[in-house]
């Protein structure tokens, strides 16, 4: 039976609520309605308003209140309705969620999860499609994970809820309705491990969240060009799994990082920088990036030009200096 990513998340929340009565789910519209994406569908009905409830409409409020709840022994799992609507909570996330353990030298911990549907591809109007990962990955003290598959949605969410550290859990909203066979046994890799989704020997495609599926599609399409593409799904954006990624790049000697967020100062830059530092002499070409454009997210009718797609990724793979005659990119 196929389970969609939204359903897998729902199952993850339910199992967590069952296993640990300190777990609470709250946010805007997550109760009776089941969330605007139905990720919390039926949970209030089945677990009671006590375990899953609506709050007033204020994101800083939700996160700050959750901080207090976590200090008081609960494990809040809160939802920000959309990426850009987590920004009002930025101070609470950056100055408190990320730092409370450190500020109190371990006396207080904040086992809480902030779920954020992010990125585009669903024809959403402005402010509903931001890829906001960098704002969190650059903030020490936060863990940041993002599933690329329904199975990982379940596994990573369970891990995130059990983590002693606060986790920003980024849900690729365009993938909510994509499904696959999911097992609810938690046999997957650890939360902070990347996985090789497809092996290949010519080039490593590094992707996460909404771009994992695109990367896999590209890998299939690349066979027509004679390129054998390996696909790594990062899963954990912070911390970064150097081992899995560099092992792959050392094998292939070439790498491309793909993400939807604007390229400038994007997460891909970190990937390029650390892979280059660690694999410099095994690289046949610079590690390249395929990213969103450096513009505010466009209106629905033009969003396809913003998003990395198979063609753009193939074009970039083609630029990886296969000819063995160094081509110098212009300034």
């Amino acid at each position: 039976m196929t389970t969609t990513m939204a359903q897998a998340l729902n199952a993850g929340l339910r199992d967590a609520l069952k296993d640990d009565d300190r777990v609470l789910v709250f946010g805007e519209d997550v109760g009776t309605l089941g969330g605007v994406f139905r990720v919390t569908d039926g949970i209030t009905a089945d677990f009671g308003e006590d375990r899953c409830f609506d709050t007033p409409l204020a994101e800083s409020g939700i996160v700050g209140f959750a901080v207090g709840m976590a200090m008081g022994g609960f494990r809040p799992v809160v939802e920000m309705q959309f990426d850009a609507f987590a920004y009002p909570a930025f101070e609470q996330i950056t100055s408190h969620v990320a730092k409370l353990r450190n500020r109190t030298r371990g006396a207080l911990s904040l086992p809480m999860v902030i779920r954020i549907p992010y990125a585009g591809g669903i024809g959403g109007v402005e402010h509903h499609c931001d890829s906001s990962e960098v704002y969190y990955t650059h903030t020490p003290g936060l863990r940041v994970v993002t599933p690329g598959t329904a199975q990982d949605a379940y596994d990573l969410l369970r891990d995130a809820i059990e983590s002693p550290d606060p986790v920003v859990f980024l849900e690729p909203k365009a993938r909510y309705w994509s499904g696959e066979e999911v097992t609810f046994t938690r046999s997957g890799p650890a939360m902070d491990k990347a996985v090789v989704r497809r092996t290949g020997k010519d080039v490593t495609l590094i992707a996460y969240g909404p771009m994992v599926a695109t990367a896999l599609e590209t890998a299939e399409a690349a066979t027509a060009e004679g390129w054998d593409v390996e696909v790594v799904d990062l899963r954990s954006l912070s911390p970064f799994d150097d081992e899995t990624v560099t092992a792959s790049v050392r094998r292939t000697g070439r790498a491309v990082v793909v993400h939807e967020a604007a390229g400038f100062g994007g997460y891909g830059a970190e990937v390029v920088a650390r892979v280059t530092e660690q694999c410099f002499h095994q690289l046949h070409a610079p590690v390249l990036r395929v990213t969103g454009l450096d513009i505010p997210y466009p209106a629905p009718k033009l969003e396809r030009h913003m998003l990395p797609d198979v063609d753009r990724i193939l074009d970039t793979i083609a630029r990886l200096q296969w000819a063995d005659t160094p081509v110098v990119a212009g300034a």
Partner: protein, 356 residues
Amino acid sequence: MAVETLLPSASPVRFVAEDGTRADQHGDYAEPTKDRLKAAYRLMVLGRRFDVQATALTKQGRLAVYPSSAGQEACQVAAALALQDNDWLFPTYRDSVALVARGLKPGEVLTLLRGDAHCGYNPTETRVAPQCTPLATQTLHAAGLAHAMQRRGEDAVALALIGDGATSEGDFHEALNFAAVFKAPVVFFVQNNRYAISVPFEKQSAAPALAYKGIGYGMRSEQVDGNDAVAVLAVLDDAVKHAREGKGPVLVEAHTYRIDAHTNADDATRYRDADEVAKWREADPLKRLETYLGDALSQHEIELCHAEAEEFAQSVRDTLNADAELDPMSLFDHVYAEPTRQLQRQRAMVRAELEA
């Protein structure tokens, strides 16, 4: 310091009872002229027709999404009518009918919801800020703009629309405070339609009414029956006058109801009873005003309004059925005053893709 002058009326201001008869619950507020009420009536008919048309267009896929104003026409039309041409309106995604009432073209209003661009009209020319999605953020812009006008000696007021749910956001608080401290000529107009998507007002606030927030900022405040167009117009006229005269900002809360779901994508049956909706349908602001106007509004005039509304709906359909021309190259135009080198490179890439 005059505490009493800052508190709202103990119950919502009303000129017209639910059945359309006169209600005397309006203190010192002056009743708007019959001409103004008839103008409001005309725009409410137009607005409602527009709203129905827009909702229909979502079903045909001509609009990406549409948050309906059904049931809130009295508020939205009064908001537009209370303002003069050089005043500024700060609407939310919900307030398309207010924009129509302000005179914007349907194609301009619906550009955002159709997915063509983020804002379909020119805010400087129309003196309407872009419809705002990040909740409550626009209230600060309204306060700042009003203060700017005041400094420039321009006789202009800003009116910010906001929903009940959005009043919970910190920005609303900061906007009220800035406005009060700077005595900015701004009116904050809360349409309390009892829901923030699925969340009922009872879970949003424990206040006796949102209008009671005013005193905490030293701001005049009022509450009004939002389905009584006469009352809303009377209260907003007065609030705008107060602001225009330099007496400071005003907070007005209208008690109304969102008849439709949050947007066409929402399913309101998941969180509220049909009975509740039915009850509020009875409190229809349009019907109420029509009854109240009685003989002042001839059958012929009513028919003219509806005919105009039908014609308007046709123009909405015509506009929306024609696909707007969108140039992907425009993506790079207004990120900065001049595209950066990086954007020039990216533009070249997209152009090459399109030409490939």
